[in-house]
Symmetry: C2
Subunit: 209 residues, 2 copies
DNA sequence: GTCTATATGAAGATAGAC
DNA sequence: GTCTATCTTCATATAGAC
């Protein structure tokens, strides 16, 4: 989670870790290089020796964070079973990432700075939602071949996108608009259940029909 | 749209309109009172004569914006026809608001400043999504009574929430992460169609069965 | 109420010693 | 590479004249 071990070591790594914390807590504009320098325990000039300015420090932090997200999503463990169970597992794993303090913080800051750093926003989309969509699409392809689901209208990619949006939207909006009020596990279970149920009712081919 | 005629007139109104533009363009932290004062064509002290500080100016602007949103949502015109057509109309009207430059800008800044101004984030939720949910829930209640839809599992409120999330999530995320790339009308039609189709497949009671 | 001028502090970034 | 000390700019906010 707190890796950023791409090629950064020593003071540079300290600085990046501090920058990560400061930027995710305050956003870009409200964050100050003083906070970062202070939290990292280095002087101003050390900071500027490693990173040319605040912008570069910011983009480095966020891009690293996106990479971490991609890795976390790719590492999701689940067994290929019946579609409903598989989707439930994937939904829980995805929400765990999205609703984590880091997940919410990254979303906040990326969206907030989307105008100033449009490239970062696109990188974020590709690193997070898009990777998840690809994983889901793969599962849906298998399920469609097995006759568990009917995607003749929608196509696998649209269906995968639809599903993760179904899973993410309400919980994420609730967390973003009600900070300091983390949802209970029961609430998350309910959200997942509604999403999976809706998706299966719409496109699933129940054997019991 | 650019009203804010609550009790503000003359210079105060000029200041608020300028503040609205500046805050929605730059966010809270990156916005400066100089920009606002300059754009309003007044001096610093005039600004501070009307508003005690930057925070109050900000909350005044955003709260007014939320009120405007509520009014806009409440004014949505549609005819009570078949459920599918009604939902399609409501979805289009809602997306028109959410995906407008102002809608996206308000969302950005409210989410970005959710930690610093938690109350504002909740006000936003109540003024936007919640009002829309209430409108949809009312339509769904009628439709359920008419046997057009089966909400025995979900309940009207959950179903309404589900529907607007289904409508909003993907288009909004796309617009937020791909600024300066407004979606085409055809794309919006497709999104609406997927949302409505999914909802009706999951919970609709087609007569042709 | 409204302006010009200014106080005060803090931001991002650099110079120069070690 | 790293530090202390400093430069420059610009932010929020206020004082005092009209």
């Amino acid at each position: 989670m707190q890796q950023m071990n791409h090629e950064f070591t020593g003071k540079a790594l300290q600085i990046l870790q501090a920058a990560r914390h400061v930027f995710l807590t305050h956003g870009f504009a409200a964050a100050t290089t003083d906070m970062i320098q202070q939290e990292a325990g280095v002087s101003k000039s050390t900071m500027y020796a490693h990173f040319p300015n605040k912008e570069m420090l910011f983009t480095t932090v966020i891009e690293a964070e996106c990479t971490t997200f991609t890795d976390t999503v790719r590492d999701i463990q689940f067994e290929n079973g019946k579609l409903r169970e598989t989707l439930t597992l994937l939904a829980h794993a995805y929400l765990k990432i999205v609703l984590s303090p880091e997940g919410l913080a990254v979303f906040r800051v990326v969206i907030a700075e989307g105008i100033r750093f449009p490239n970062l926003a696109r990188v974020f989309y590709l690193a997070g939602p898009q990777v998840m969509i690809n994983m889901i699409a793969e599962q849906l392809t298998h399920a469609a071949a097995a006759g568990e689901i009917d995607l003749s209208e929608l196509g696998c990619d649209n269906a995968a996108s639809l599903f993760i949006n179904l899973v993410r939207s309400e919980p994420q909006l609730q967390c973003l608009t009600h900070p300091n009020a983390a949802p209970s596990d029961i609430q998350v279970d309910q959200w997942v259940n509604i999403a999976v149920t809706t998706f299966m009712r719409a496109y699933g081919c129940e054997q019991s029909k």
